[in-house]
Each structure stands twice: as C-alpha cells, then as structure tokens.
Subunit: 244 residues, 2 copies
Amino acid sequence: MKNVKLIIQYDGTNFSGWQVQPNARTVQQEIEKALSKIMKRPIKINGSGRTDAGVHALGQVASFCEEFSIPIEKIPVALNSLLPQDIAIKEAIEGSVDFHARYNAVGKKYIYKIYNKEIRNPLLRNYTYFVSKPLDIEKMKKACDYFIGEHDFKGFMASGSSVVDTVRRIDALKLYEKDEILTIEVKGNGFLYNMVRIVAGTLVDVGKGKIKEEEVPMIIRSCKREKAGHTAPPQGLYLAKVFY
Amino acid sequence: MKNVKLIIQYDGTNFSGWQVQPNARTVQQEIEKALSKIMKRPIKINGSGRTDAGVHALGQVASFCEEFSIPIEKIPVALNSLLPQDIAIKEAIEGSVDFHARYNAVGKKYIYKIYNKEIRNPLLRNYTYFVSKPLDIEKMKKACDYFIGEHDFKGFMASGSSVVDTVRRIDALKLYEKDEILTIEVKGNGFLYNMVRIVAGTLVDVGKGKIKEEEVPMIIRSCKREKAGHTAPPQGLYLAKVFY
C-alpha cells in the first residue's frame, strides 16, 4: 500500500466545485473516475478541503492510499491523458504512511484577483472580480494589516455555517497591483467557509470608502457577519497552496 | 449622420468567430443585435477583418454610419449593458465622414501566446497554445528576423484561400517570455488568411528543431504551404490593434 499525494490545478469555471455530489460535474469526481479507470477498481480520494463552484486551484492537494502497479511518478501523465482539459495533475509524490490531505494540512495560501477598471475585460471575466468603481489601494493595504494574527473570525464566515471553533490565524495578508490586476494574497492556518471571499469583499468595501480601514478591528471583534463587507464572487478566488 | 468607430475586446472561446453566419454565435452578430436594440432599427457594422472561432481580440475595430440620438461617448456603457460578458466595447470615437474599419486599415498588430511547460495549465487552455516539448527560444528569436520586410507570403496562407496578391509587409516580429508565457508580437500592413497562425506554427517548429532557423528565407521564397510549419491553434491568437 502506498500513500499518494496529488498536486492539482483546475479552472473552476465549469465545475460545481471540488466535492462529489449527485448530478453535478465536480473536480473530485473527475479525478476519481480517471484514477478508477487506471487502477481498474473504484478509488476515492481525500481533498485538502472543498472549493466552491467557480473557484480555481493552482495547488489543491488530494491523497489516496492504494496498492500500486505503476510507478508513482508516472501518475500525472497517465491521469492527465484521461482527465478533461480544465484539470491537470501537476505532481504525484509518495506521502508518509499516515498522510491525509485534509487532516495533515497545517495551513493554506489563497489568492484573490480583482480587475479594477471602468470597463470590464471579457478575457478575465471568469478569472477576476470585476470592480468598476475606483478603489483606494492605499486604504486597502492599511486594512490588510488588521487581519493578521489570531482572531475569532466568526463575522467572516458564511451565515448558516455550523463550525463551532471560529478562531483562525492569518499569518500574512498582502495586496499588490500587477498587469492591471489587483491581487490579494493570504496565508493562514485555516479558513472558515467563505472567509477569504468575505475578507476580499471587506477590502473592496474599504477601497470604495464604504468601510473605514480603522473600523476593521472593531468589525473583527464584533463577530457579526453583517458588520463585515460583502462576499466577493467565486471566480476571483484561487486555492494557491496547501502547507503540511 | 455620424461615422462611429468602436474599439472591441472579446474572448473568442465561445464564438464561431467574428463574422455573421447563420445558426452560429458570432461577435459581429451580438454587437449588431445590441446596437439595433439601442437604435431601434437594424444596424450593420463593418469589422476591420474577420477572426476565426476561438481567436480573441484586444482591439478589434468596427465602424458604422448612423443618425444619432445619444452622444457617442455614451455608446460603450449602453452597449456593454446589453452585450454578453465575453464582449466589451472599450471605446467609441467619431470617425471621419468616409471612415471604414476595413478599407482604411493600414496595419494590424497580433499577439500569439504559447504555454511551454511539460504539464498543461487548465487556466490557460483557452488562451494559449500548449506546447509540452521544450522550445529553443534563441533559435526562434533568430528565425523571427527573416520574416521582417516585404515578402510574398503565399506559403503562409491557408491552402484554398483565393487571394491573388499575396505580398505583405511585416514591420516587426518579436518574441519574449513573461510569466511562463511565450509571446509572439507581430505588426504588418496586412495578413493573409491564417498567416499569423502559420508563422507561429513555423516558429514553434523551429523551436522544436523540426525546421532550421536558417531555412526560413528559403521557405518564404518557395511560396509553398507545405514547406512552412503547422498552423498553430486559434486560442493562442489575439488581434491586438488595428492601425489607421
């Protein structure tokens, strides 16, 4: 038996997210289908976590434990030849015996991309959040700093989520402009449901002047979803890296 | 009557190209439909030239001559609100009385993007030509220079094309790498059918060592389609700018 770790890239546009669900096209399902074909028996994989419909991944991680006939380094080529074009396996590595993509994850890095121009860019419609109103980047940068550290991020979780422990640690949150795109990069030990999108939406609201940057600490402390900004749309979000 | 020049950006992925054709979704058709709705009568536009299915545009130009009720500078916002998300009007300018997007064009600039890595990138599948074999960039750069100048490019035209005068002038052809993408930029006074894609395919064949860079002048002089390289796929091609 070998424990295999897959590094996966995908374009979330035409998927109903990561997780297997009936009557929907999901990334996990496509990979399991291809793996089962190669292994000639049903295979289930464990992802590091879900991603929503429209959300992309540059470095999603999934693991599975199986008896192997082919060398592990041959898995990407074999899988990629069977997978649809909007998924690619970038790497397959042997994990330790007890490796599990979800339980062993100690942190994640997400990227959120914003296209901030007056007129939309059709080529970026599925890959950025289009904001036509001018954003005050300096204010947004200042707001970033308040998120860093360990906080109860209950107010930055989609309402209806049932998670009890809502304390998370954000290790880094930065914002930069490159090639007309405003990128938010966030690293932390874990993220609540929709947390990155609500942080991004809050930063956009700061950029628009709807929320004052110095109000952010109070918003975090309030633990109230309605105090935080809007939930930025899925297509700007990329799961960039999972740390172990 | 006013002559209006539209600067248009589009994602060619889900279009059967620029030109109106029955039972197909085309860019021209979508713009004419939206314009006709605004003007409350059927409007026809003239593009600077066609683009094929899957080919993108950053700066396609189209013109039309009409009686106007709304100020020209309001056209982009009005049109964009009616157009699908994969088209955007970037600008509308008043042209001279006799302006015609196709007849008055004196040159064009195209961009061709290649993703040259061992494993495909799902997020770029519709926006680049994926070449997994390593390319010798230096050889490709040397090959570029041979195309510059006025030549009979008959060998770089899709076979079956009926154009008689196949002499064109390439003013600039350069190649550079940025963010994992290899970009070919070409400017000229006009391009034959599939010419940019055949030039790009020939450069890729030079990069792979299938064609020697010093053979390029002979290939051009031969005027034979079969001597030139393959036709690179449409999704790597962008009509970047039309010159007047």
